[in-house]
């Protein structure tokens, strides 16, 4: 009897996971068909890789915000670490390795370095709570961005040269190559990212995040989120599990950064300021905190929305802001929720939808 229920729950979880993968695959197929029949504008085609970047970033941030219950505003910093380390690697390796191998290596490098940063930052930061944690993660994100702006790295036959003042101080041989040029960033990164790779990385991210949530560790993290003291009292090492979630989230943000940096000819830190962190947080909150599918959908819609609104020219960001405020009010205000449920219950089949839509 009991095992039956367990089995049922497990089956339902598995089905929910598979549906998430299926949504991504269907989205991929539909987009491919649209591209091949020439129905997708070139602007939207150009947005496909950024959409993948933001989906990965949003899903990974949801691990911290939704599952671990901590507000992080420094996600762009980890993306920055992933982007820079991987672009650096790709530039150093150059054509010494086959392209596929080099890109896999770049992804691993980005993930490992971003994860390490997550671990290093997480150890002190996770002692803080709530808005203090938010502001410190924001501070770390800005520090990473600022430091990247003053780093100069070059390579010649004698090895690597590093400077924090200017490109001249690298003292490179004439045959040497500058790789990181301070505020100018890294240019000449091979353009290895494409939509297919983006979707594969999304699936990989989903696999990691969903299985982590369903694992013993994931349940420990959620227990700590719901009641820290109760979780501690039954012997869950709360800090350890929170750190795990934070580091995994940072590593996946690094992967998003790798995808981003290998999609652009020139990489600089402008894109990695707190606005990007906030943007990713908007995806997570709008999609539903803790709801992986929701954050994916919100990331796709909100990344594509400014382009879709292009016909409004100058007014598009204004409309975007209004849409954001109205959607938040409509989704979260108690008065709006009551009204929505009243309206839904009057529609045929509406009542079931209103009652049965409870998040796990």
């Amino acid at each position: 009897m009991n095992t039956d229920i367990v089995k049922k729950i497990k089956n339902r979880r598995l089905r929910s996971k598979l549906i998430t993968y299926l949504i991504v695959i269907v989205f991929y197929v539909v987009v491919q068909i649209l591209i091949n029949t020439g129905n997708l504008s070139s602007l939207l085609t150009g947005l496909l890789v950024p959409i993948c970047v933001y989906v990965i970033a949003a899903v990974s941030l949801n691990l911290v915000v939704g599952i671990s219950g901590e507000l992080s505003l420094g996600h762009a910093g980890f993306m920055c670490v992933g982007a820079y380390t991987s672009a650096f690697l790709s530039n150093v390796v150059g054509s010494a390795l086959p392209e596929t191998l080099r890109f896999i290596l770049a992804i691993l490098t980005g993930a490992v370095f971003a994860g390490l940063f997550g671990l290093l930052i997480g150890i002190p930061v996770l002692r803080l709570k709530g808005d203090y944690l938010a502001i410190v993660t924001l501070a770390f994100g800005e520090i990473i961005k600022n430091l990247m702006n003053v780093v100069y790295v070059g390579i010649d036959s004698k090895g690597l040269h590093v400077s924090t003042t200017s490109a001249m101080d690298l003292h490179l041989e004439p045959t040497g190559k500058q790789i990181i040029k301070g505020a100018l960033g890294i240019s000449g990164t091979p353009k290895n990212s494409n939509f297919t790779i983006g979707v594969i990385l999304i699936l990989l991210t989903l696999f990691i995040v969903q299985n982590l949530i369903d694992s013993r560790s994931g349940r420990a993290v959620m227990a700590a989120r719901d009641n820290r003291i109760a979780a501690e009292s039954i012997g869950i090492p709360v800090t350890k599990f929170k750190l795990l979630a934070f580091a995994v989230s940072a590593a996946l943000a690094g992967v998003a950064g790798v995808l981003y940096s290998h999609n652009l000819a020139t990489l600089n830190t402008k894109k990695f300021d707190y606005n990007t962190s906030i943007l990713v947080l908007v995806f997570v909150v709008l999609g539903g905190i803790g709801n992986i599918r929701g954050s994916m959908i919100a990331a796709v819609i909100l990344t594509a929305l400014p382009e879709m609104l292009r016909f409004l020219s100058n007014y598009r960001m204004l409309i975007y802001a209004i849409v954001l405020i109205v959607m938040m009010l409509f989704n979260w205000a108690p008065a709006a929720r009551e009204w929505r449920e009243r309206v839904l219950s009057r529609l045929p089949f509406g009542r079931r939808k209103a009652v049965g839509k409870e998040e796990v």
Binding site: V282, V285, W332
Partner: protein, 294 residues
């Protein structure tokens, strides 16, 4: 003598941060929300003053008063339309994201009305500058007014919060909203008043900021807003002297870092100091330690 000059610049910039941080800290203390749009109210205040002086040809002092009134109305409207419906939503994140939406909205309205390029701001302070140590240290009129304004505002606010009925209502609401309501305090009205005061302060900060760094763009308020929030956290959020001290320290660290280390990593130093302070004293310099209850 250059050190004194930098110190003076730091205190001046820090005073502006302090005035913004006062608004942040009051709103946070009472409404328990990060008002990300606060920085953009600064920008609105600066534009209103600029328009009043250049287009309407008003006296600067009158222009500042009009800007304060405009920002007060703006702040109360934002609170009523965007934040109040979400107060009982159960998630502090919802109202945070809405505040970000409001911030985007204000920036884009300014972008449509005034364009993306910076407008030169007219210095509204016509005080002569003060020369000390035989010209070794020149303190401009703007700096004097900024520092004086900061001190006056802090004294008035402290008196207001400690002595008046409304001020004590604010303290009560920040302590325990439900209990305050049961005592017959108008909670919505008190929060509205807090936003009004915070926004009026933002207008003053906008004028002072743009008098010292005389360019206004739609994004003028964003970074000072973030830094002022850092200052508020630094001093212990919810504390008025904390916001003041945090703001001034932040300004001094930023200017000294820019002068002696590197202008590009000045922000990194500011944020680094914040992190160290919070790790040593997680509730900020003047913050109260809240015991965790089971």
């Amino acid at each position: 003598m250059s050190f004194l000059t930098y110190l003076k610049d730091g205190i001046s910039l820090g005073s502006v941060y302090a005035i913004i941080a006062l608004g942040y800290t009051m709103v946070y203390g009472i409404a328990k929300m990060l008002n990300f749009a606060h920085g953009d109210v600064i920008m609105v205040g600066a534009y209103v003053v600029l328009m009043m002086i250049t287009r309407a040809g008003l006296h600067p002092l009158l222009a500042v008063l009009i800007a304060m009134a405009a920002c007060t109305v703006l702040g109360m409207t934002i609170e009523m339309v965007a934040y109040r419906p979400l107060r009982k939503a159960g998630s502090p994140l919802a109202v945070l994201i809405t505040a970000i939406g409001v911030s985007y909205l204000l920036q884009n309205i300014a972008l449509l009305m005034f364009g993306a390029d910076g407008k030169t701001f007219i210095n509204v302070v016509s005080l002569p500058s003060l020369s000390l140590f035989d010209g070794g240290l020149v303190i401009s009129g703007t700096t004097i007014v900024t520092i004086l304004a900061n001190i006056i505002i802090m004294i008035c606010l402290t008196l207001f919060v400690k002595k008046t009925k409304q001020g004590r209502a604010m303290q009560a609401v920040s302590e325990d909203r439900d209990a305050a309501q049961l005592m017959g305090i108008n909670v919505n009205g008190t929060i509205s008043l807090t936003f009004a005061i915070g926004s009026a302060l933002a207008a003053i900060a906008g004028v002072l900021l743009c008098s010292a760094y005389p360019v206004v763009t739609p994004y003028t308020g964003a970074m000072p807003g973030i830094k002022a929030f850092v200052a508020a956290v630094f001093g212990g959020i919810g504390s008025i002297p904390g916001a003041m001290l945090g703001g001034i320290l932040l300004g001094v660290i930023e200017i000294l870092g820019r002068a002696y280390i590197s202008s590009q990593v000045a922000d990194a130093i500011v944020f680094g100091v914040l992190i160290i302070v919070l790790l040593v004293k997680p509730s900020g310099l003047f913050g109260k330690n809240v015991q965790e209850k089971v």
